[in-house]
């Protein structure tokens, strides 16, 4: 076996060792993530919770701040995505209505009317 062959073999073994360490010995652990990294179903449930809370507090500004945790997309877009997912996965009609209500309310929301919170 030539030196080059042995060298390449060592590289492959090194890479394999790195992968073994990264995947088996010390695999990626999900810690300290932001809500924007949640799985689609959890995100949808998050939006649904915002919609449920909105029915009680009727505070669109608060709803928008909560939705902002899910990413930098527009709040209406976040709710639309959630509604789409909810339709696809046959959520209860009450839940769909809640999401629709929040989405419609957000269309009329004007951030300039928001009183900044301290």
């Amino acid at each position: 076996m030539s030196r080059w062959t042995k060298f390449l073999l060592a590289v492959i073994i090194g890479a394999a060792a790195g992968l073994f360490y990264g995947w088996i010995v010390n695999p990626v652990a999900y810690v300290d993530i932001a809500p924007s990294s949640l799985r689609a179903d959890y995100k949808t449930d998050f939006v649904l919770m915002v919609a449920e809370a909105y029915q009680v507090d009727h505070d669109l500004g608060l709803s928008v701040r909560r939705l902002a945790l899910l990413g930098s997309s527009a709040p209406t877009e976040i709710v639309a995505d959630a509604l789409s997912y909810a339709h696809q996965h046959e959520f209860r009609s009450q839940d769909l209505s809640l999401l629709q209500d929040l989405g419609e309310a957000l269309r009329t929301w004007n951030p300039n009317q928001e009183i900044p919170t301290p």
Binding site: F7, A17, V56
Partner: protein, 295 residues
């Protein structure tokens, strides 16, 4: 001869290069992207936001099963305790009252296992018209101002009111004894005021037990404590390990406090931190135990 002098270092070099390539690939070319993560992986402060949201959603739906399911996703060891601790933190950090109430209400619901919400404890600014699961009513007014009472608790140290207790004196009721939050118009009566001397708890506190006429603890009762230049609100049931009708407030020595139920009733006035004597004649702070009943 030349090849022999180089030895086998090239193998180690190959290994290092291989590991380096792997790291460059995993850290630079294709770094880990956190996607499809579950709620239990959220950062601690986001978990707090998540719990608040679960509690706020519960106020609308009253669906305790769903709230439990959602909280379970956080994989806390004890979801009720986590929620209660967060409610206490929210109070001390001066979080919005609606948030504290939501956390408190869900905590109590989890403790009691009840599935409906008493509308009288919902945030006053709420309006849930059209909601199929909740009956709305205005926030109960303060039916009697603090200080209106003619019954003033005994706050001086005397032999009848002092108890030397070696350990905690708070009863630990079973959940089946728990009653719901009183209805609008209920007036609490201050039944007993006792100075509790417990060397294991040297900080002066106002401890409150709220019970119904049968002696069952009542959770979720708002309590208002006032002093010169200040006011604070707290609720029974946020320390379920001490009883769902229990609440306490840390006193500052030298400050005179008045305490009453948020819904009205007799007030306990002129409460100040009082000292107790230990067996070796050293002094330590005692706590006032106030028992309110709903006749």
């Amino acid at each position: 001869m030349k090849q022999d002098r180089r030895g086998s270092w090239y193998l180690l070099t190959g290994l290092v290069i291989g590991i380096g390539l792997g790291l460059v690939y995993s850290w630079v070319l294709s770094p880990v992207k956190y996607v499809d993560a579950p709620p239990y992986a959220l950062r601690v402060d986001y978990k707090d936001d998540y719990r608040v949201l679960v509690a706020a959603a519960y106020l609308y739906s009253g669906d305790l099963v769903r709230a439990k399911d959602r909280l379970t996703q956080l994989k806390d060891n004890d979801i009720t305790q986590s929620l209660a601790l967060q409610a206490q933190r929210a109070m001390t950090e001066g979080r919005p009252e609606g948030e504290i109430k939501a956390l408190g209400i869900l905590t109590m619901a989890l403790v009691q296992g009840k599935t409906t919400i008493d509308s009288s404890i919902l945030p006053g600014q709420s309006s849930a018209e059209g909601s199929p699961t909740m009956v709305t009513s205005p926030t109960p007014p303060d039916l009697q101002p603090a200080g209106a009472s003619t019954l003033v608790p005994q706050t001086s140290l005397n032999s009848e009111s002092v108890m030397n207790t070696p350990g905690p004196t708070i009863p630990n009721p079973t959940f089946s004894e728990v009653t719901s939050v009183p209805t609008l118009g209920s007036l609490f009566v201050l039944e007993d005021t006792t100075l509790v001397c417990n060397p294991d708890q040297p900080q002066p506190m106002i401890q409150v037990q709220v019970q119904d006429a049968e002696g069952h603890p009542i959770s979720g009762v708002g309590i208002v404590v006032t002093w010169e230049g200040g006011e604070d609100h707290f609720f029974t049931g946020l320390k379920p390990e001490l009883g769902v009708g229990y609440a306490d407030f840390l006193m500052i020595p030298g400050v005179v406090y008045s305490l009453t139920m948020a819904n009205g009733g007799q007030a306990a006035n002129d409460l100040t931190a009082a000292e107790c004597l230990s067996a070796d004649q050293s002094q330590y702070w005692g706590s006032w135990m106030l028992t309110f009943i709903l006749p």
